[in-house]
Symmetry: none
Subunit: 383 residues, 2 copies
DNA sequence: TTTTAACTTTCGTACGTACTATTAATTATA
DNA sequence: TATAATTAATAGTACGTACGAAAGTTAAAA
């Protein structure tokens, strides 16, 4: 009746109930128990296997078997395999790739992916975070809303931390939180966009960036840095910034105004992303300005759009779906570590931007490129 | 990664979810399973042991292993506000819009949206459906996998019905199920694509369609119907069909072969979607064929891509995000009616396709258009 | 026909071996 | 000193064998 494994099981259970085994305390290894109880490994595994099933123990492969913290499971939290992804705008041409990357990893590891959308609006961000806090989520991947300024919802992110729900931010982050992040080095990205044109001899370059998210303002910063580095003055009217609300009107209007003014036509344009480039190409076509003959233009993201037009875009590579995939990996890691001991802050990932040179840019003038080439090293990314 | 016992476990679980194994039905004995799966008894026991632990099976020593009756434990389901959306491929340029449309309605009505992805693969479709059946979902929006043929997972859709989980299919559907659907009238869409070119005097038109989904094969059908209607013979070598696997190679290669052959260059091309058009535009550019001067081309979807190129595409309008929004509306209605009385079959929605004429098509030859114009009425859509 | 006993099937317990996957600790290397 | 490579420890998977315990089946005996 009382089989060997039952005896062992009862012995361990007693230790837990007595308090001899505290939560998260390591048990003897299977091999030690074999000697301890004088039975086979199979029998030991049978005993601790059942105890693990019943929630008394948990096992970590490669590490050991531990006493479970039953005070938590008592709060009837059912097994929790939902991951939330918060986007600003689902259809934005980059984000579906990120979602796909994340989904492919998470579904492979038994998680379900629930999508939330803030439309880059603080109010909706708040609602979403409240749903997640109320609901049952193991972790959250967040593309922050209006990331260039502080969010009024910071306290909700702190609540996530208090509830032990791991989260990480992608593409951008709120400085105040110092969260785990997965981002491009956007400042460097903006820098190499501008540097590329500068090295090709351009001196009159227009910058058009969306500045209500962190990406855009960092890219603009990189643009300015490149000019400063190469000692090229910036005409302030060459900097056009816009935001989410006026994204479909302002860039086009401003560029039209600039081109139709009696100022000299710029020789190069640097854009917030490829999508914007394609809109602006129409503006140029209407004025019979050919790319790259009359004007060079640099995009950002290396999206599918960059090879779609008659002129293939020189652009900065964005690791889209890879980013989603690795975000998912990182998050799952964070979820696992949460249960363990004090092993906390997971390292953030910063991708180095990379320029893809296609046919939308060309050399102009006869500047002394020799002097420029190799004279300066790229000053960013040395941290 | 997927160990032997996991495979067996999954196989048995599938049988239960399909209904092949009814509650209290006896399973094969351990010894039979050993032969059945070609593994050791230990492995079989590991599989059925875990399933018993998880409540799928129960065992009676000396008698056998039986399928558990889960209907009882299930009745205490917590309130349920999750909606699943099953896509074939998240990044496909149309689907993010559909998701956005659905998400905007569902989040407004207190539902959370969980995204699943099949990669147009039956196996993954099966896994996803099993997760949904096991999990806690109020309804499902499905873009069917490989919709032009019957799915091997039909029984799982029937299980959805048995579990009273409303679902509807979007873009396409499996004929066998007669589900509630939200689709475009793709046959008519293909018809008006072809009709447009025919009315512009084209007689030598190439059709390039993806035919492993229902949309493509219906559009092709419409293409053929238009030719028959206007008594125009079809050169069979003008019909190029491809599928999900070879979508990035076959269409381009086939068109190149056709253009480089010594046959007369066709005057028009009708495409499965806008994305394909843009790929093919590169092929034409390489051969100095200008659109629409030398060749007219018609797309499908009226996607953002249609206004991106130097030539703006004539294309068929696809109500993308509206479709997602109305799918969500319909599904929520179905969920509400489910509890109510016998008010059952919700009406499906079929959108009428609409041609957007831009600048990628032009009139050719001097055919007697007068004779054609108005002589025929559009023959489809009168049902 | 009923009862009993023997036999068979089935799951349960228990031993052993071997290899893999993951983690942690150690050592070597820069 | 910090990093990389190696090694050791630990749980996971998988094969095998053997016998016990409970249930079901069959056949003989009352």
């Amino acid at each position: 009746m009382t089989s060997k494994y039952q005896v062992i099981k009862q012995a361990i259970k007693s230790k837990i109930l007595e308090g001899t085994l505290a939560p998260h305390q390591k048990l003897s290894s299977e091999n030690d128990m074999i000697k301890e109880y004088g039975v086979s490994r199979h029998t030991v595994r049978l005993a601790i296997g059942e105890l693990a099933n019943e929630g008394w123990l948990y096992k970590v492969q490669g590490s050991g078997t531990y006493c479970a913290d039953r005070s938590k499971t008592k709060s009837l939290r059912q097994p929790n395999n939902n991951i939330a992804i918060i986007t600003t705008y689902i259809s934005e041409y980059i984000f579906p790739s990120i979602i796909r990357g994340a989904e492919s990893y998470l579904s492979k590891h038994g998680y379900n992916v629930t999508i939330f959308n803030t439309n880059n609006d603080y109010n909706q961000e708040k609602q979403v975070l409240e749903i997640i806090l109320t609901g049952n989520y193991a972790g959250v991947i967040i593309e922050p809303t209006k990331s260039s300024s502080a969010s009024p919802n910071l306290h909700l992110y702190l609540s996530l931390e208090r509830e032990m729900i791991p989260y990480l931010m992608i593409n951008a982050f709120y400085h105040e939180l110092e969260p785990t992040t997965i981002v491009l080095d956007d400042e460097k990205g903006g820098f190499i966009q501008a540097e590329h044109l500068i090295k090709l001899g351009h001196r009159d370059i227009v910058a058009i960036f969306k500045t209500d998210d962190m990406q855009g303002s960092k890219r603009l910063k990189g643009f300015i840095k490149a000019h400063r580095m190469y000692d090229i003055p910036i005409n302030t009217s060459n900097i056009i910034s816009y935001n989410t609300q006026n994204r479909y009107s302002k860039p086009v209007e401003k560029l039209e105004a600039l081109l139709d003014s009696n100022m000299q036509t710029p020789t190069g344009i640097v854009c917030y992303n490829d999508q914007l480039v394609l809109e602006l190409l129409d503006v140029l076509r209407k004025r019979d300005l050919q790319v790259p003959r009359d004007i060079s233009i640099v995009g950002y993201d290396d999206s599918s759009l960059s090879e779609v037009s008659e002129v293939k875009l020189t652009t900065v590579k964005h690791p889209k779906s890879k980013m989603g995939y690795e975000a998912a990996q990182l998050l799952v890691e964070m979820i696992k570590n949460r249960n363990g001991s004090g092993k906390k802050s997971t390292e953030s990932i910063v991708y180095e931007p990379e320029l893809f040179i296609r046919t939308s840019t060309k050399r102009v003038g006869k500047f002394q490129e020799e002097l420029l080439e190799g004279k300066f090293e790229s000053p960013i990314g040395s941290k």
